[in-house]
Amino acid sequence: MISVKNLSRKFGDITAVNDISFEVGEGTIFGFLGPNGAGKTTTINILCTLLAPTSGSAFISGHDCTKSSSEVRKSIGIVFQDTTLDRDLTAYENLLFHAYLYDVRKSEMKQRINDALHFVDLYDRRKDLVKHFSGGMKRRLEVARGLIHRPKVLFLDEPTLGLDPQTRASLWEFIVELPQKHNVTIFMTTHYMEEAEVCNKIAIIDNGKIIAMGSPEDLKKTLGGDIIYIKTTDNSRARLDIEKLLGVEVFEEDSELYLMSQKGDYCIPEIIRNLGEAVLSVRLQRPTLNDVFLRMTGRAIRESDMSSGDNVRQMVRSYRRKFERT
């Protein structure tokens, strides 16, 4: 649905986007993660035809973002980082304005707007001026607006920025339903890593370059899997038992044993069965995308052991090779 090849954009001496390539499949949620200033918004602006790339190409649904901007614009909906609603118009009028701009057929306009308002649960507030809306309501209204012209791709640029945790959670519940309900592909950026868990595929961008790409699960696996912490009555004996059982190295720290495993949840029952009553406590720590991100952007490498750091770098290199060729 989206295909980006060797895309670069320079602003004077600064290279905001540096030779990035990726593909987004139809009906999927693609997450574009990175710290502020990594090049996320520049990429979105190029895809939305607001900015021309310095080199490389970008296609949306088969249309070239630089050459057939009008076709691209018809097939995308965008929710920008900052609100772009007219505060002095009602919710309904804002959507009507959009419907006219996108040349929605007059006979369908009313129905589509009302459907969209129902979908985001704002139908009862349709006659209220947008300036009286809360942040979450505005964001929902913008998503509804972005869907009015039935786009093939919906861009969400930091959709939950500045919202309270409850509103963020309910917004996500509703975003994950979009691909099925509205037959739309989602391209989103965020810097809340835990929110990216809903994505089918993630690309991590830093300093204008994509440094890792894959499903959230794959990315987390690059960290070496889950960590299991065990306390037993006799640590030195349990340590030998577990090493023999699973064939992995077990470490001890603060009278607690820990080990890394790709499938921590399956290892725990096995360990307990084997050690029996000697086990006092077990806890499992799963790597989060946040860990992945910290590791990938290089900021956490010096804190961790070098072997896994090297691992990650290798992974990154192979990822780059794999995706830059396509």
Partner: protein, 252 residues
């Protein structure tokens, strides 16, 4: 069709907002009334333009011009608001041409100005001005042309400013001089040479002069011929809207 829809909805939005904000309508009408009755009424005792026309009647076309000047500029400068509140981005990513957006904005300013002109026209009987239906039609036609020209100029001005803090500068350095150097308050013929030159470069001058033709039909209150006035206004409008379109395209 798509482009026409875009022009239509951009205009409709502005009109809706204009009619919704009563305070804006009242405040935009207050300025011409203050000038007409407080300045015009006061000066009437001092100045007599001759030909049986009182000063308050003499400045009436100028006040119409002022109304158009202010409301057209304000309307176009709302682009800066749109930029600040983000709505401009929503318009810019829509599949419509930049020219349609600019024309939509210019027509919004035109229509809002003409609504106000019509309201001020209702005052003419109280000033002792007898205007026939033909005069009224002339006034509205000339007002539309002038308003379109000034609205386009306003878009050019707006494209140079990023935030609304520059609003004061626009009013003081652009709008007020355009008003005073337009022959609205005094005949162009009697101005010193340097001011006369500036006045002749100001499109508002020809709008006000054409309005003088329409209001005082048959009485020679004007400085230029109606053909000069209308011709120059049309030329200025076409140049302005094209420049506005090009600048808008380039800046966004």
């Amino acid at each position: 069709m798509r482009e026409l829809n875009a022009v239509y909805v951009i205009v409709a939005r502005e009109i809706k907002k204009f009619t919704r904000e009563r305070s804006r309508l009242i405040s935009t009408l207050a300025r011409p009334l203050i000038w007409l009755f407080l300045v015009g009424g006061g000066m009437s005792r001092l100045v007599s333009p001759g030909m049986g026309v009182s000063y308050i009647q003499f400045i009436y076309p100028g006040i119409l011009g002022m109304t158009i000047l202010f409301s057209s500029i304000f309307s176009s400068i709302s682009i800066i608001w749109d930029k600040e509140f983000g709505l401009l981005k929503e318009i810019l990513v829509a599949p419509v041409s930049r020219l349609s957006i600019v024309i939509g904005k210019a027509l919004s300013g035109t229509i809002i100005s003409v609504i106000q002109v019509v309201i001020i026209l209702c005052l003419s009987p109280f000033l002792g001005l007898k205007m026939g239906l033909l005069s009224i039609i002339y006034v509205i036609a000339i007002s539309s042309l002038l308003a379109f020209c000034i609205s386009s100029l306003g878009i050019i001005v707006a494209s140079f400013f990023e935030s609304f803090e520059s609003f004061g500068a626009i009013i003081n350095f652009i709008v007020m001089p355009m008003f005073f150097l337009s022959g609205a308050m005094y005949p162009v013929k009697q101005l010193p040479d340097i001011l006369k030159l500036l006045t002749k470069m100001n499109p508002v001058t020809y709008g006000v002069d054409a309005l003088k033709h329409a209001v005082f039909r048959g009485r020679a209150m004007h400085d230029f011929s109606i053909v000069t006035d209308v011709g120059l206004l049309i030329i200025a409008s076409v140049i302005s809207i094209i420049v506005a379109g090009v600048l808008f395209e380039r800046k966004n």
